[in-house]
């Protein structure tokens, strides 16, 4: 039975080999070679000039992940406690933006955040900008929101929040209610039930949520280009430029990708250590 079914796995193995393993091998080869194909480590030594970009990318991704967690956990928790109908509606609302194209969604934020965009018009109409000028003695006509690091983080949070909510929600909703009753029975009030039972048991969901938000955030380039106006170069932008932009240098691009990948994998392994004892694996 098992052997008969195993041949159906063959296409999958081939697929993995061609589209997952081969590119990684190619990347490693590129990263360690010069333009003429000879072995070199110079790609890595050159990278030190981009330390700032590394720092910024990881900083923004961490901020975005933390915000996603702070927003996502309470939403998941409250959702899981509500009735089945509420849960369905909330789930649709959370998934709804994801039915739209990623770029379109992000573009729409541009029209909202622009200097004469929707949000600034709204602030103007309620007199918030005048109030600000009166208090601080300034003469601004709008709040600058586009092309800031804040806008980039907002874009990340907006796009990746569902990836935080879904895993946490699915863990909490499956939590055995009798454990909560048992804790209550042993004298725990609501706060303590949450701290000692619900929270630790939902950690696997939190860990996979963090992974699913952090990894795309740290490697994004579209969000930073659209909402950051290209002023805040992130790792994703840097890599893209080495392959498609003017600074054509695929060897360097491969080296940066490799280093980023190694850092991310190490981060995830450390996280996994935290979640040890929980049955659910965090690695994607």
């Amino acid at each position: 039975m098992k052997n008969k079914l195993s041949r159906f796995a063959v296409p999958y193995v081939i697929w993995m080999a061609i589209f997952v393993v081969a590119p990684i091998i190619l990347m490693v080869i590129y990263a360690f070679s010069a333009a003429d194909g000879s072995f070199t480590l110079s790609n890595f030594s050159k990278m030190t000039t981009y330390a700032v970009v590394f720092g910024r990318s990881f900083k923004l991704a961490i901020i975005a992940t933390v915000i996603c967690l702070l927003i996502g956990y309470p939403i998941s928790y409250l959702m899981a406690r509500e009735g089945a109908r509420f849960q369905k509606v909330a789930m649709v609302l959370i998934m709804l933006p994801m039915w739209m194209n990623f770029l379109l969604r992000t573009y729409s934020w541009m029209t909202i955040l622009e200097n004469n965009g929707l949000l600034n018009q709204f602030f103007q109409s309620i007199g918030l900008i005048d109030l600000y000028n009166n208090i601080f003695g300034t003469e601004i006509e709008y709040f600058t929101m586009m092309n800031t690091q804040g806008a980039v983080v907002l874009g990340m949070v907006y796009n990746y929040l569902p990836f935080m909510i879904l895993p946490i929600y699915s863990v909490i909703v499956k939590l055995d209610h009798s454990l909560v009753e048992a804790a209550r029975d042993l004298g725990a009030d609501n706060m303590r039930v949450f701290r000692r039972v619900t929270l630790p048991l939902s950690l696997p969901g939190v860990l996979s949520g963090i992974t699913m938000v952090f990894v795309p955030s740290v490697s994004t380039f579209a969000i930073s280009q659209m909402l950051g106006g290209g002023t805040y170069l992130l790792l994703g932008d840097l890599i893209e430029r080495q392959f498609l932009g003017g600074a054509y240098n695929p060897q360097l691009g491969a080296a940066i990708s490799l280093v980023m990948m190694v850092i991310v994998v190490v981060c995830m392994l450390v996280m996994n250590r935290f979640g040890e004892g929980e049955e659910q694996a965090v690695m994607l």
Partner: protein, 389 residues
């Protein structure tokens, strides 16, 4: 003498118009081992949850020491529960599961929160693990334990808090027969050793008879009878109780006068009295109270239709005038043989007619009945879980 600890007064429980508990009045004494016994869906788990504080009665009161506690949440009651599926915390090891309740600061006499020291927690957890025979298991993960061990952790986790009352919801349901028998003795020993009041829910009548000081028989959300195991067995209130507790032949009869009952148009001496003259009644005759004699010496004569070897005795089915009885005997009477029986006056138990009359106590469909009993215990686990909401 023992004093009253918990009282349920006129408790009614309804979910969406469906009445689950109907007018429950029950008094539980200090240091008592009380068992709520009944088939699945009879309301025994719901009664337990009222006492535990997980549910509020739709009407009626729950009193602890005479004080109304309807609105007191579970964590403020001096009650701990051993849950049906144990509900051990999977993220904590055995030690931490047992220590869970001890690590929570409790309100002392002056309203100040008292936190136990690590040494005291350690001493109490270690002592409790000794009581339940789990010394050396402290660091084990609870998921690595067998069913019986998990069950003992659940008991230790509840008992270590030294509650006034321990609620046990079918705690032995998931164990195999052998282990269940051992745990029954173990539980009874723990109860006597600690002097804690046990309120025990089960659908297993043998378990109830073996362990309890008091048995409360329930059906369809009502209490049918409260009494000691011997009372319940020897003086069942109606056909349901007689059938549920032990094996019984239940026969239509007529009470001719005090001490004389008529079945199959024959009059027998019995010890019951207090019925109207010629009142129709249900008569219970336990299978072990029947003596088999030669056909010509019998008060009643019948034909053996079925014999089952049970190890200690034979269960034989005998046809008397079209009505099949179960008789337990150590002497083999082969199928087809004619036998006579004798019953002493104390072998008859006469009950007033009730809504349960005619529903139980006939062994015409002997084998099928055994199948049903088997099914009922299987269904029970799912059904009682549904009770929660």
């Amino acid at each position: 003498m023992s004093k009253e600890l918990i009282r349920l007064v006129d408790c009614v429980m309804a979910f969406d118009e469906e009445v689950v508990l109907n007018d429950i009045n029950l008094c539980i004494n200090d240091r008592e081992f009380l068992t709520l016994l009944g088939p699945s869906g009879c309301g025994k788990t719901t009664t337990l949850r009222l006492i535990g504080g997980f549910q509020k009665p739709t009407s009626g009161d729950v009193l602890f020491n005479g004080v109304r506690v309807n609105d007191v949440p579970p964590h403020k009651r001096e009650v701990n529960t051993v849950f049906q599926k144990y509900a051990l915390f999977p993220h904590l090891n055995v030690y931490e599961n047992v220590a869970f309740g001890l690590r929570i600061p409790k309100k002392g006499e002056h309203g100040k929160k008292i936190k136990l020291s690590e040494q005291e927690i350690d001493a109490r957890v270690t002592e409790m693990l000794r009581v339940v025979n789990l010394t050396g298991f402290e660091k084990r993960s609870v998921s690595a334990l067998s069913g019986g061990q998990q069950q003992r952790v659940a008991i230790a986790r509840a008992l270590v808090n030294r509650p006034k009352v321990l609620l046990l919801d079918e705690p032995l349901g998931a164990l195999d027969l052998r282990l269940r028998k051992d745990m029954q003795i173990e539980l009874k020993r723990i109860q006597q050793e600690t002097g804690i009041t046990f309120i025990y829910v089960t659908h297993d009548q043998e378990e109830a008879l073996a362990m309890s000081d008091t048995i409360v028989v329930m059906d369809a959300g009502r209490i049918l009878q409260i009494g000691t195991p011997t009372d319940i067995y020897n003086e069942p209130e109606n056909a349901f109780v007689a059938d549920f507790i032990g094996e019984s032949n239940i026969i239509d009869g007529i009470m001719r006068e005090d001490g004389v009952v008529e079945i199959f148009n024959r009059r027998f001496k019995c010890l019951d009295s207090g019925f109207d003259k010629d009142e129709p009644v249900d008569v219970v005759i336990r299978p072990e109270d029947v003596d088999i004699v030669a056909e010509d010496q019998g008060q009643l004569k019948g034909t053996v239709t079925n014999v089952t070897f049970k190890g200690m005795q034979y269960d034989i089915i005998v046809d008397f005038y079209g009505f099949k009885w179960l008789i337990q005997t150590t002497d083999l009477s082969p199928v087809g043989s004619r036998i006579g029986i004798k019953i002493d006056p104390d072998g008859f138990h006469v009950m007033k007619k009730s809504e349960y009359s005619g529903m139980f106590g006939d062994y015409s469909s002997y084998s099928e009945e055994y199948d049903e009993i088997g099914d009922a215990s299987l269904e029970l686990v799912e059904e009682d879980a549904g009770d929660e909401e």
